[in-house]
Symmetry: C2
Subunit: 219 residues, 2 copies
Amino acid sequence: MISTTIENYIKAIFYLGETATNVTVSAVAERMQNSPASVSDMLRRLYEKGLIEDKNNITLTDQGSFLAKQIIRKHRLWETFLVKTLDFKWDEVHSIAEQLEHVQSSLLTERLERFLEYPETDPHGDPIPDKDGNFPNLSIIPLSEAEPGKSYIFRSVATDAKDFLNHLDNKGLQLGQRWVIIEKEEFDGSVKLLVDDKNEVYLSEKVAKNLNICSGQLD
Amino acid sequence: MISTTIENYIKAIFYLGETATNVTVSAVAERMQNSPASVSDMLRRLYEKGLIEDKNNITLTDQGSFLAKQIIRKHRLWETFLVKTLDFKWDEVHSIAEQLEHVQSSLLTERLERFLEYPETDPHGDPIPDKDGNFPNLSIIPLSEAEPGKSYIFRSVATDAKDFLNHLDNKGLQLGQRWVIIEKEEFDGSVKLLVDDKNEVYLSEKVAKNLNICSGQLD
DNA sequence: ATAAAATTTTAGACTAATCTAAATATTCAA
DNA sequence: TTGAATATTTAGATTAGTCTAAAATTTTAT
Ligand SMILES: [Mn+2]
Ligand SMILES: [Mn+2]
Ligand SMILES: [Mn+2]
Ligand SMILES: [Mn+2]
């Protein structure tokens, strides 16, 4: 009934809806790497299937939103499996999870979740929704909004693009580390950190915007 | 490049090639639950892609055969994972594995195989080929060819259809059991067994043809 | 307020995979 | 060996998903 293609569109619209104020045809086209013409055409089909509210206002219906969260749930559970159980590295799992997220069996998803002992986050620190679509609240902020002098825990990355994750690996940055903000440059947004009381690391604003931290203690 | 649809055709042709002398359009159509017209059309595409030798003689090329074995390998490894790791029952795994077998990542397949500790057979006793496509030799025969009075080990089932597996569950039959052939009726091919020196079980020829045994000792 | 720029939709075409109905080809049996 | 039955292929159509090019609409800037 719902194709893999449609699932990918719904997921794209969900992610865009989280950040952008209003989701546009061209933004979906950009994200899906398709032409705006194809997207326009697809939106008609999504509307006919009751997955988006309206053709002008690209917003997911409850049904569409639930579907998106199920796919994200599967994606993140599989990523966790790949890293925790099969010893993949965090930069290797995204494209495989893109395939596994479309496997349809709610029993499989629940058994996988149980096997992994109900993880709250995936290898990139992203929250894993439960089977009703509820996300755990992680109260994170982007590093770019951190206050100088304060101490934080590195919680998640905003994207799991391979080259970005490799860049973090090269800088020695890992989820769970304690980061003290040494200084923040106003004119370019760059940040200087002390990582685990040991190494100093400089980060550009571009990177800092994609790193999420929380002020709490380690788990 | 190679679609899920094509993978399913190649797998069907491989299985038919194992049993039937010559594979026919109508046999493929029957197995795929498609019309002969669709199959005829698809065979042209398979030939163009170098997956079958000829349009008249439906035989897989080396490339096609290797592809088939890779898909079967993945199917059986995933079935093993579902039963051994996620506690599924043997009659629940086939349809999920039908989806998982199309996930493309040879690294994933190898890591899964390693995690499962290089299993030789899947939950239905079917041999799992290695990454080069070589099957372990299990030297099995159908129960219908067993000799009365002799003792065998129940090694595998020839089909993993859910209703067939449920039938076996109801009779208390499980892989690895020792079966002594008490008698074999010539006129209808039915068989009477002593299972693990405890229970007597009667089986029709239809069932006996789909149960595979070997004469060796337990592993 | 209007023209230019950007965005979106429509029109028309293509591919993969399927179907039914009709035409062909092959096999089998009298 | 020849007509009937069976099997296969072709013809023509359909659906999902994509494209480019052109038309229409909306936004932005002068
Ligand atoms: Mn991912
Ligand atoms: Mn992730
Ligand atoms: Mn199976
Ligand atoms: Mn099996």
